[in-house]
Amino acid sequence: MLKTENLNVTVGDKKILNNFNIDIKDGEIHAIMGPNGTGKSTLSKVIMGNKNYNIESGNIIFDGEVINDLSTDERARRGLFISMQNPISIEGVQNSEFLKTAINARRESPVGLYEFMKTIKCAAEELDMKEEMIHRAINVGASGGERKKNEVLQIKLLKPSFIILDELDSGLDIDSLKTVCENINSYLKENPSTSVLIITHYPRILEYIKPHFVHMMICGKIVKTGDYNLAFDIEKNGYSDTFTISENEKNE
């Protein structure tokens, strides 16, 4: 599904991703945990083709094809999706109109208005979102939690095959996190070849969406990979042990 090969990424003259390698197969759920500022959000934006970040070397490969030079919208239409850490608000652009345009960008002929409204209302209800959200401008006046729900609403409508969840749990209270994760799990059940990359600080979300692999990321690279239990080791012991290892590697 998605693979990076020796990815080196800079912003300005600052190196952020450092020979970054990950290989996520169809239907797999991976989690990346790492301290603040380690490059997790950068990774997710680079995968989506954000032009602020320069790929100095290395490849991003999606379904067997190098996508380094694909535009962001093309990546999205091929099935990549990012639920952003801090979803922005867009004054004057209505949620439903935006989503309709996004759905139509993936179709030969435009979706019928009735069918579309039915789908979006049903999805919003499953997420416990207020129906008026649909008609509001994107995230304008919305709380952190409402914004995160809106991201997941988009997953349900746009049906991506590769999903990045960047700090999905931030801004969501425990009940909302549960609702949101249940929605994601049922999406994954219906679309079992979908792959997920969960980026998180806390293992809490991993209790709801169980990863097959957990990676620890320090200073722009993965320093340790394990199973679900690694997340709880990290929570118990902190990143510091592994920090030392990575510092040693740097000095070599």
Partner: protein, 237 residues
């Protein structure tokens, strides 16, 4: 409410509005002068669509009036003067402009008496690498105590246009609330990135953002909004 339509075929230079009125102005390819006198106590709504014009429109507003102007200009070099001549009048004036050639929009807002309020929003999309200028003046005379002047000027360049905003605020009274702002640039790249991550092409992103930028602040009914939306959709950007 009385309705009046003024287009190229109506050959008048002065209108006296002495009762509440909706006026639709629709001018194409012309150079004309129009003087609109708003008599005391009148509510006036203007819906103005101008295409390729070089017009001069003057609003003289008397006491206790309420005026709303929604003006969409496509490739125009118009001049609009608003004179708030007597106390207690207010105007909301939304100018949205789509520009493709070298043009300028001159606007003079004059507060000539106390307790007058103006809220002005000037938004332009400059499409090609042409020049566009806002020359926007606000004058608040000595007698205009307790008045308020708020003006927001923005130009978005889609393709490296050369745009200028020349704002001028002359305030001859300390007891007023006056502010103006100016922005020239492109749409926020974070907005574009967000929209593109959902599969919208740059063109589709621009189209949604342009509609929101031009129509978002306007005071329109549904029919008017539909008309303007379809005009904007037809413009090739």
């Amino acid at each position: 409410m009385n309705k009046l339509i003024i287009d190229n075929s109506v050959n008048i230079e002065e209108i006296i509005v002495d009762s509440d009125m909706d006026i639709t102005i629709s001018f194409n390819d012309c150079k004309r002068n129009l003087n609109i006198q708003v008599m005391p106590g009148v509510c006036l709504k203007i819906f103005d669509i101008s295409n390729n014009t070089n017009n001069s429109i003057v609003y003289n507003i008397a006491e206790s009036c309420s005026v709303v102007i929604n003006k969409l200009s496509i490739n125009c070099s118009d001049t609009v003067d608003v004179n708030l001549n007597d106390m207690n009048s207010n105007i909301k004036f939304y100018s949205s402009i789509i520009n493709y050639e070298d043009n300028e929009y001159k606007q003079n807002i004059n507060h000539n008496d106390k307790d007058s309020i103006s809220k002005i929003i000037n938004h332009c999309i400059n499409v090609y690498d042409n020049k566009f200028k806002f020359i926007v003046n606000g004058t608040i005379k000595k007698d205009s105590i307790n008045s308020s002047f708020k003006q927001d000027n923005k130009i978005i360049n889609i393709n490296n246009g050369k745009s200028f905003i020349l704002p001028n605020l002359i305030v001859d009274n300390n007891d007023i609330d006056a502010s103006h702002s100016a922005y020239i640039g492109t749409f926020d790249e974070d907005l574009i990135f967000y929209m593109m991550t959902r599969g919208l092409s740059l063109k589709e992103c621009n189209s949604l953002l342009i509609k929101s930028f031009l129509l978002g602040s306007m005071d329109l009914d549904d029919r008017q909004r539909d008309i303007l939306n379809s005009i904007i959709e037809k413009v090739n950007m």
